[in-house]
């Protein structure tokens, strides 16, 4: 079990709503971005002298640009419905991690400067000046929100705290207080093309290695092409897929699916990243700049379709925002939605009977499935609402014999965040990440006890990385988290693939 400098919460049978315990997480703050990470994004390097005035000005600007912010700050009636819905509150007990508590950090400033009641009777309506203490609270608690939208499901007005966190981060960036993790990464995308800073040649190398691995294993030449002009499909996938476990097993799976579908496809070294951290920092400009790279790559490589790999927030940006940010996509094949999710692609082939599976290949596992927040509550797959829940499950059922869902209250649109989303997947927030994972791990633990579940599949790079890191704190194994397309990869029977028995002969012949 990993060493922790903080107390790892104990798992319980049912979700217990903790008693309010103020300030337990006031110390939690991610590293602040140095000027070198701020400036490439168009933000001031450090906290400005007249920051207060600037921040209020920025808030006013955002209030005029985003109806969500305006309505959400006005509409909350403090009904309390959201108070026990955030995994960070459940895991930390800190009332400023209750969604409405988090919103109120901004709402009190909004009321003071933008509403009559707050100007006349600040005490009465809980309005406050924007002081340095308040700013510190903002920095701390707006970086304790993974923008998972669970709160918005249960709010009678759909108030989405994620929108408020995004606005708060945008305001802080605009006065020179940025978060290192997110802003450094966005800089890497501009400079190199992906979050991990993997240059084109390194990618090509890795992909070549994958081709060899798959050939050794199956005797089939499955291709993993990059920068191939004229390919039909451009695959945009999170850069973690290129090397980290269990992500890369997913990438191997996508390649096998494309192979069986008989379509040509390619990755792009210029747009070698599905993630778009511009969303996490609430910056329309940066989000648009990152998204535009995909458009440029699609034009340059003359592809006809765009397919996204397994990544939660990336799919939100892709499904919900890509048309807005980088459309119109009239130069692509109009017979297919733009973009498509790899799960939609695989599911469609399954429906049409184009894929052959040997489910027993996954018999060493008993599976459950983690709905990633951004896929569950901020996007869709397929033609009908809720397809984002049914399609991945249908793929698991087609490729595995043993599958059990976790408790109904913790899946589908009520799913609990992994605890590492929204730009919080950084080691300087480890305590928060471990505590925030509690509700999800609890539900997982329950199906492990009751149904002998051994593995949890996910379709999000952040979820996979987060669980790999966090599960050991709870006494579980890091490899209990698997990619969905890893299951596909295990079970798929490629055309012309060696069968189990003559495995060795054929590799010998080829050698």
């Amino acid at each position: 079990m990993a060493k922790a400098t903080f107390e790892v919460p104990e798992l319980s049978q049912y979700i217990e709503v903790p008693a309010v315990t103020p300030e337990t997480m006031a110390h939690s703050m991610p590293f602040v971005a140095k000027p070198e990470f701020q400036e490439p994004l168009g933000f001031p390097g450090e906290l400005m002298d007249d920051w207060q005035q600037k921040a209020i000005g920025k808030m006013g600007e955002l209030l005029g640009k985003y109806r969500s912010l305006r309505v959400y700050l006005d509409a909350c009636v403090k009904c309390g419905s959201c108070t026990d819905k955030c995994h960070y509150y459940l895991g930390t007990k800190d009332p400023k991690n209750m969604p409405v508590g988090r919103q109120d950090l901004m709402r009190k400033v909004y009321r003071r400067y933008f509403t009559l009641a707050g100007k006349l009777f600040p005490k009465l309506v809980g309005a406050e000046e924007f002081t340095k203490e308040v700013l510190d609270d903002w920095y701390s608690y707006y970086h304790q929100c993974s923008q998972c939208r669970r709160c918005s499901v249960f709010c009678p007005y759909g108030i989405d705290t994620a929108e408020i966190s995004m606005a708060a981060r945008e305001i802080m960036d605009s006065i020179g207080v940025g978060q290192k993790y997110c802003n450094e990464i966005i800089g890497k995308v501009y400079k190199i093309g992906n979050n991990l800073g993997l240059p084109g040649p390194a990618l090509a190398d890795t992909l070549e290695g994958l081709e060899e691995d798959v050939y050794d294993e199956t005797g089939v030449r499955v291709r993993y092409p990059i920068d191939e002009e004229g390919a039909e499909i451009l695959l945009i996938t999170p850069s973690a897929d290129f090397f980290a476990e269990p992500h890369v097993d997913g990438l191997i799976g996508y390649g096998k699916v494309f192979h069986e579908a008989g379509v040509s496809w390619t990755l792009s070294s210029y747009a070698s990243e599905a993630a778009n951290f511009g969303m996490f920092i609430g910056s329309y400009d940066n989000m648009r700049r990152v998204a535009q790279r995909i458009r440029e790559a699609a034009i340059q490589l003359k592809v006809k379709r765009i397919v996204f790999g397994e990544c939660g927030h990336a799919w939100r940006v892709a499904y919900s925002f890509l048309n807005t940010l980088a459309g119109p996509w009239d130069f692509l094949d109009p017979r297919y939605p733009v973009p498509q999710h790899i799960c939609e692609f695989t599911y469609d082939l399954i429906q049409r009977g184009k894929l052959t599976f040997d489910k027993s290949e996954n018999d060493d596992k008993v599976l459950t499935y983690h709905d990633s927040c951004n896929v569950a509550r901020a996007s869709r797959m397929g033609d009908t609402p809720g397809g984002q829940f049914e399609i991945p499950r249908a793929i698991i059922r087609a490729t595995c014999n043993h599958f059990y869902d976790m408790d109904e209250d913790t899946i589908r649109d009520r799913t609990f965040c992994c605890g590492g989303g929204g730009g919080l997947l950084t080691d300087d927030l480890m305590e928060l990440r471990v505590k925030g994972a509690k509700p999800r791990v609890e539900a997982l633990n329950n199906v492990m006890q009751e149904k002998a579940v051994t593995h949890m599949a996910a379709i999000c790079a952040i979820c996979k990385s987060q669980f790999t890191k966090v599960l050991p704190y709870y006494g579980m194994e890091m490899d209990q988290i698997v990619s969905l397309h890893q299951l596909v990869s295990n079970a798929i029977v490629l055309t012309g693939q060696d069968t189990e028995g003559d495995d060795e002969d054929e590799t010998d012949e080829a050698a």
């Binding site: 008693a19 109806r67 969500s68 009641a117 499901v153 989405d160 033609d383």
Partner: protein, 243 residues
């Protein structure tokens, strides 16, 4: 015209003005502020009609609140439904002739009044007994409940204990339409009831009571889930594209 009648006449002109101008201002502001991105909380309807159904369920049944917290839902719904019946019953003071449905609803309006107070008391008690709700409550959250409970109780007192001359009340309000106020009965409970109602009208556009119009403008509830089919660009975002 007595001094009292005059004070109340002016009070009501003022309150009505604040309510109408304030609400129109807010609604126009909400409507004019763009929603640059598609952010419906999914699964969401894929058609306009679907959205109308979703909103109707939210307004009439408080669907999301039902999923979130059963106690708040039951008290909240009792309160609002009671308020709705009371409002219908009260229409008789403001229209002449009184429409048949309003006549029929009269007896239910009284039960509505009782339900309203019961719901409000339930909601208020949550603000004391549930630690999370206590933490998020500011004085104004208590005061608005006190205000509504006081309006409800003063109304019920008039209905059951200290009756007032409702015909005179009606003629006072009908007179206001023609800028010719008729005498208002000077029963203290009535005056209290009306004073509190005027306060409610004045604070409405400046308080969380904006949740009523706000709900209809909430992008996470009122947007259609069709971003791949239909390009959605706000005017200010369009300008970025022309650069």
């Amino acid at each position: 015209m007595s001094f009292l009648t005059m004070v109340y006449a002016y009070l009501y002109y003022f309150a009505a003005l604040v309510l109408v101008v304030g609400l129109v201002y807010k609604v126009v502001q909400y409507a004019r502020t763009p929603a640059p991105l598609k952010i419906p909380t999914t699964p969401a309807p894929t058609t306009r009609t679907g959205v109308v159904f979703r909103m109707t369920r939210e307004v009439v049944l408080f669907e999301s609140l039902f999923r979130g917290n059963k106690w708040t839902w039951i008290f909240g719904w009792i309160f609002h439904f009671g308020l709705f019946l009371v409002t219908l019953r009260h229409l008789r003071y403001f229209i002449e002739p009184v429409w048949l449905p309003i006549k029929l609803v009269q007896p239910f309006g009284v039960y509505g009044g009782m339900a309203m107070v019961v719901g409000l008391v339930g909601l208020w008690s949550r603000r004391f007994f549930v630690d999370r709700v206590r933490y998020i409550s500011s004085p104004s959250d208590h005061l608005i409940l006190v205000l509504l409970i006081a309006i409800g109780c003063s109304g019920l007192l008039m209905r059951f204990v200290f009756h007032t001359d409702v015909v005179a009340v009606k003629s006072f309000f009908l007179g206001l339409y023609a800028f010719d106020p008729r005498p208002l009965p000077s029963d203290p409970i009535l005056l209290l009831h009306l004073l509190l109602v005027a306060i409610l009208m004045i604070v409405f556009p400046y308080s969380k009571l904006l949740h009523a119009p706000g709900l209809f403008f909430s992008p996470s509830r009122n947007q259609v889930d069709n971003p791949r089919e239909q390009r959605h660009v706000a005017p200010w975002a369009k300008r970025l594209e022309q650069e």
